[in-house]
């Protein structure tokens, strides 16, 4: 049991963070507003979770302008991608172990 749990990533304990990461792993990049709509969360909530992932260096932030409107896009870093896969693997292993 212990060996499985040690691969659980603390950064992904929060559900929204895990969801953000799954969207970013499946796409080259994703912008703030689309992410907000897809996950159905508030601006502040999303921003704080993105900050947390950024601090872990799991995602990279790219700021640009569309006309005059700021447009921020996010992408998964190599580190984040690896962490996400490890986390999913740990979840799957947990299921396997409990079946035995």
């Amino acid at each position: 049991m212990r060996s499985v749990l040690e691969h659980f990533d603390k950064a992904f304990e929060n559900r929204i963070r895990l969801q953000i990461m799954s969207v970013l792993v499946a796409n080259e990049n994703y912008d703030f507003n689309s992410l907000k709509e897809l996950l159905n969360v508030t601006d502040g909530n999303l921003a704080s979770h993105l900050k947390a992932l950024e601090k872990e260096e799991y995602i990279t932030v790219h700021k640009s302008f569309l006309g005059r409107k700021p447009n921020t896009t996010y992408a998964a870093s190599e580190l984040g991608r690896a962490a996400f896969i490890r986390h999913l693997q740990a979840l799957e292993n947990l299921i396997k172990q409990q079946k035995q």
Binding site: L18, Q19, S22, D31, S34, E37, L38, I95
Partner: protein
Amino acid sequence: MEDKEIYTELNSIRNLMERSAKFISLSGLSGILAGIYALIGAWLGYRTVYGKGFSLQSREYYVSDEGTILQLFFIALAVLLLSLISGFILTLRKAARKNQNVWNPSSKKLLLNMAIPLVTGGIFILILMLRGYYGIIAPASLLFYGLALVAASHYTFEDVKWLGIMEIILGLIGALYPGYGIIFWSIGFGILHIIYGSIMHFKYDR
């Protein structure tokens, strides 16, 4: 964590990855309608060229008087516009029913990737018309449409790729038999759309 909880968690992650990367509000019904419009258009076109008689023989001569060409052009344009309009309306409806936004990163990528081969093909066909190569217009439209579908398929249902490949094959065969343009065109835009739209409708829309 409970087993079941992890299962639902993994499932919701998979679902989210799929939903974020692919546009899945495309309506199958609109494919069926587009097929029906195309068949009606092909029939009108056939009447315009051959009159009321019925024979599916190949012609050695090509249609060349400008009145007929113009009429065919407007029939094709009407089919295209009707298909696009019903496609948009039905897709909007399906998205609303599924509570999804139609204008999202995947639909944008879908449209852009489809537009490149379609616009190229459209311009190419206009050039063919201007230069009088009427015989390969029908296969050219199938080819470019097929390429557009294959390009778009990365951002929506996998099945779209197979429709695209079939259109490309039809277009290539059609290019070998220029006199039978209307038959290949009817199969590609009419019958294939109806078959494909029905499959999509029963597979995803219900």
